[in-house]
Amino acid sequence: MTTTTARRLSRRTVPALPEPRGPLSAAVMGLLRGERDVDVPSPAASEPYGDDLQLALYVLYELHYQGFDGVPDEREWDSGLLAVRGALEDRFLGALRADVPVGAGDSAWAALDELQVEPVDGTGSVSHFLRDEGTVAQLREYAALRSLYHLKEADPHAWVIPRLYGRAKAAMVAVEFDEFGGGRADEIHAQLFADLMTDLGLETAYGHYLDAAPAEMLATVNLMSLFGLHRALRAALVGHFASVEVTSSPGSRRLAEALRRVGAGAAAVRFYAEHVEADAVHEQVVRHDVIGGLLEEEPALEADVVFGIRATGHLEDRLADRLLAAWRDGRSALRSPERAGTAA
């Protein structure tokens, strides 16, 4: 049904600021609305993976992507906002460093090899659950949540390009070129995802599902923005990207099967079918040439590659637990399913 109608460009929309989820995000929203004398509480009192901190951080990161309606574009580099962002990042990164220990001699290759083994049972994986018993409503919820990343797919990773050189840079750019459609706007992966959303009857306007997304989803996107925006974390960004590319191909196959099983349209299946094929390539290029090239030049960064891989797994596990707990219980995994318009 998408091929006959004109495609709407998701990013023609500049979203409204979301609803605050606590004192931190309320203060950040106040600053963005230009309020004076806003008292920003210390993030030390806030749960590092909780809704309030993750939303505050997410909103500040969005200034680097699409911004918000009513917030001047120049505020991307507002020193006061950057200071708040820095304090939130310290809290988030501190929690990740504590929860994801990396030993001095830990190997990036061993960490990736571990991800390459396909589990026999697949318990605890969202893609196994959706393939075997996912309903249309659950697949729509999954797409609504993942849209926070996929409508800007591969954008956070583009920030690492100026921080790489030689073999790592050439390979990273080649994979990004593929993510951005290989020169064809219709094939940009973010556009393929918007087509999937249209097929599933979801709203494709950028930022539409932000209020519906729980902290666990926000954290997975904030991780990419954190790694992408900091040169000091360039190796973690590359480790993160590799870990997603390695696990994506088989996971995408299961999601394509889930969508076929519930009778979703061709465009919905296409997004995941494309990733089965593309990510079988991306995985090898990222392993051999991006990580291989980076570590050949800067071997001291190996621990951060491992950190990026494990931090990704840590936050993806938290998201999977949240989604599966809700769905196994017969509940929506969204914070506000009615407002998000995904109620079946």
Partner: protein, 57 residues
């Protein structure tokens, strides 16, 4: 097996399959469900201590 793209594969039945990606993963294990392209079906299967991840890139 990675081959620089674009790639044309001629099957045993003479059928030609084309892929114009910058680099193409050609299946050499014959287990791929999207043969002649790789879908990572060659991977080892085993009990894992960590969970399977679901992200797509």
């Amino acid at each position: 097996m990675l081959v620089e793209g674009p790639v044309e594969v001629v099957g045993e039945d003479g059928e030609v399959t084309v892929c114009d990606r910058f680099s193409v993963a050609v299946c050499t294990c014959r287990r791929s469900k999207i043969f002649p392209w790789c879908d990572t079906s060659h991977r080892k299967r085993a009990k894992r201590t960590t969970k399977d991840e679901d992200g797509t890139a």
